[in-house]
Amino acid sequence: MNLTANLRRLAPVLVLVALAAVFTAINPVYASADNLRNILFVSSILLVASCGATFVIVMGSIDLSIGAIATLAGVVAALVVPTLGYGALAAAVLVGLIVGVANGLLYVYLRIPSILVTLGTGTSLTGVILYLSDGGSVPIRDAAYIAMTRAEYIPYLPLVIVFAIVVYVFCIVLADRTRFGRMTLAIGGDEHTAKLVGVSVDFVKIQAFALSGALGGLCGGLLASRLGTATGNMGEFLMLETITAVVVGGTAITGGVGGVARTLLGVLVVAMLSNGMNIISLHPYIQTIVKGFVILLAVIALRRSPSGSQS
């Protein structure tokens, strides 16, 4: 492997270092322990959703409903906290799982492109959310549930970060060490070939959407705890940010290339960039412009990479 190829593999890491250096130079507060913990805190939620999204994207599909799933799951969690307590988190996962399986079934059996299936389910869910929350927000009064994500059983590591690390490691093992993970890559690389070696392509697709949904749901439950309330648009940002994180991490939007391990880098780039731009008080409108360019740069970098090019 030559130097340029190595450089390309390390590109997201270099970007992280460069971002940290630039922001710290402008405002030293950036490198403070409090701020770094804040970055990790924000990253955690995004990482949980992005891990699931990676499986879908690597397969050559896409899940646009992830934001709506998270919001719905958060609202449901907020509604059932009084009766279920911590069990509300499980309810959130279940809600996500159900929507994910529905996405998968529609995608596979009706042969609708995943971008349209999830656009449709996502839009409908938004309506369900408005109905459930009566157009407003559902406050959580259970202090224990709110404290859950912030609890530091391990010093300096709020529980939400622990959650994210567990999900991340679980997904890496799933991606790199199981038949399911390998087959998502194979389907993204060449569906025909995968079929001819006996892969149940349809089943793998449904599983991937189910996983994406379940993790989106978990994400919603955690968000509700962190915010202390469930609002009708709290997960909205996830739709674009998960895709950004996955692609910036180095997974091809066309599928077949990349993986969960790299998604962490993308998540950190997104979180550090947002946080840093706030710290240096960049105008919010300009922040949005910068975020857009980051996506473009990632796509260009990936296109030039050896794994993304045609032989």
Partner: protein, 512 residues
């Protein structure tokens, strides 16, 4: 008597090399006005290269061409079109979601600019005029091309050749027909030929086809190529038997096909695969048995149904559904046959390597373990990277796959080495039967020989091979026994022992 006329096209001593391999050697060819000629030959004889040279797609390495008395050296296909030479492609080069007239003038729109805008009115008028002139008045130039049936789209392609020739002031165009009948039924073929005869007083045609009978029906004069050389030129009337005698009879190198390593498989050997009364699609009543350690070859022209037989055995949909396929005494089910076939230890090397055999973005190791993931787990359900690498390294050594290592992405390997990985994928599962469809397609000479050696190794280990191939020499050289199919039926079975291999001519007699 044709000699009395002046040729409109001449090719003199044209040769072509690709990466040092000669595919055309000193080819001479002339075309007279109002003439339909054919170029016949086996796969790889050079007929397609010759056609592409006339069309400006390949440049001759040596030799020259003249067109209408002028030196003719097109750099690309559009140059040929401007000079009055057009190709009607087998896979139709029309854009279905454009209107007919838009297809006619695609890429020539600048010639119709008036006041900065494309003058579609003039395009339509011109298109309409030419369509009527050609007797194709039923085709409306304003309609979407894709809304017409295959035959009419073919007519639109031919009309396009006339329209563009006239547009570039060529009186008598040359239309090259590149396997125009490959994808159509007898009725459409008849319609096409009738139309070509109708147009012949205003153009010359050059036909390439896989069906010899079509040369006999349509052509005035026929060229026959073999191993890149022009070996015969015959005037009407010709017979198919004489054509294929000229086409075949190539020298076969016994060492190349490792014929000395061919096993003798007695009739008493175990039957591992039995196909009985297979029917469906255009396959009818095909039955045969494959024995342990045997290489059974199925030959026949393109479209004779031999690929469908392979598909039925491995469950690659769509496949002929009638009849039964029995493996080691157990019939394969109709539903989920692909999985049942794999479970019965059958491997499949498909024809389209790039889209059916490999996953280009995955590593050599991941491609090798694709069908054998269970064998590389340490803890059940979890792939062990170490075991997977070991499996890959084992097969890299065994098959002499040229790669930088198990982690190299498959897309960076040569065609021959990719094909070896496709075979490794199945060997990693320890198979009993290997079905191969044109295993050396797009593979260089050296890798071909290695793949043949590998097939002999497998047979020695008791693996049975069902070989489907368009390459006659490969069929004869490798097989213990040869089946020939024609129009969906088995027409003959011929043993092919090392000391008494059939001649190409003998087999071709059954194929056409």
């Amino acid at each position: 008597m044709t000699d009395a006329r002046q040729p409109i096209f001449e090719m003199r001593g044209a040769s072509k090399q690709f990466a040092g391999v000669t595919v055309m050697e000193k080819v001479d060819l002339v075309i007279y006005p109002q003439e339909i000629i054919g170029i016949a030959g086996e796969n790889g004889a050079g007929k397609s290269t010759t056609l592409k040279m006339i069309a400006g797609i390949h440049k001759p390495t040596e030799g020259s061409m003249t067109l209408f008395g002028q030196p003719y050296a097109p750099n690309r296909y559009t140059d040929a079109v401007r000079s009055g030479v057009s190709v009607v492609f087998q896979e139709q080069a029309l854009v279905p979601n454009l209107k007919v007239y838009e297809n006619f003038f695609l890429s020539h729109e600048t010639k119709f600019i008036r006041g900065g805008l494309v003058d579609s009115r003039r395009m339509i008028d011109l298109a309409e005029h030419h369509l009527k002139d050609l007797g194709l008045g039923h085709i409306d130039p304003r309609r979407l091309t894709g809304s017409y049936e295959f035959h009419d789209r073919q007519m639109i392609e031919i009309a396009k050749a006339f329209v563009l020739a006239r547009f570039f002031d060529v009186e008598h165009p040359i239309v090259l027909l590149d396997e125009p009948t490959a994808a159509i039924g007898d009725k459409e073929v008849a319609l096409l030929f009738e139309s070509i005869r109708r147009f012949r007083n205003r153009a010359s045609f050059v036909l390439i086809t896989h069906r010899l009978a079509e040369y006999v029906t349509l052509c005035d004069r026929l060229y026959v190529m073999k191993d890149g050389k022009m070996v015969a030129e015959m005037p009407r009337p010709f017979e198919t038997s004489r054509i294929h005698q000229a086409m075949v009879g190539r020298a076969r190198d016994e060492e190349y096909y490792k014929e000395d390593r061919q096993l003798t498989v007695p009739d008493s050997a175990d039957v591992v695969l039995s196909v009985d009364a297979l029917s469906g699609g255009h396959v009818e009543d095909v039955s045969f048995k494959l024995r342990k350690g045997e290489i059974l070859g199925i030959g026949g022209l393109v479209g004779c149904g031999k690929e469908d037989v392979a598909r039925a055995v491995v469950g690659f949909e769509p496949f002929p559904a009638g009849g039964t396929v029995t493996v080691k005494g157990k019939p394969l089910p109709l539903r989920g046959r692909n999985k049942a076939s794999i479970a019965a230890d059958i491997g499949f090397v498909p024809k389209e390597r790039k889209t059916e055999g490999i996953i280009p973005y995955l590593s050599v190791a991941a491609n090798t373990s694709l069908a054998a993931l269970r064998s590389v787990t340490a803890v059940p359900g979890f792939i062990s990277g170490a075991r997977e690498s070991r499996l890959a390294r084992e097969h890299i050594g065994l098959l002499r796959i040229r790669t930088t290592g198990p982690r190299q992405l498959l897309q960076f390997l040569s065609g021959g080495n990719q094909q070896k990985v496709v075979m490794a994928k199945w060997l990693a599962r320890s198979i009993d039967i290997l079905v191969v469809d044109n295993p050396t397609r797009g593979v260089d000479v050296g890798a071909k020989s290695e793949i043949y050696g590998l097939m002999r190794d497998l047979a020695e280990k008791g693996v049975s091979i069902l070989l489907i191939t368009d390459d006659l020499l490969e069929l004869i050289g490798l097989s213990n026994r040869i089946l020939i199919m024609r129009d969906g039926r088995l027409v003959t079975e011929r043993p092919s022992p090392p000391d008494a291999k059939p001649a190409e001519q003998e087999l071709v007699g059954f194929m056409v």
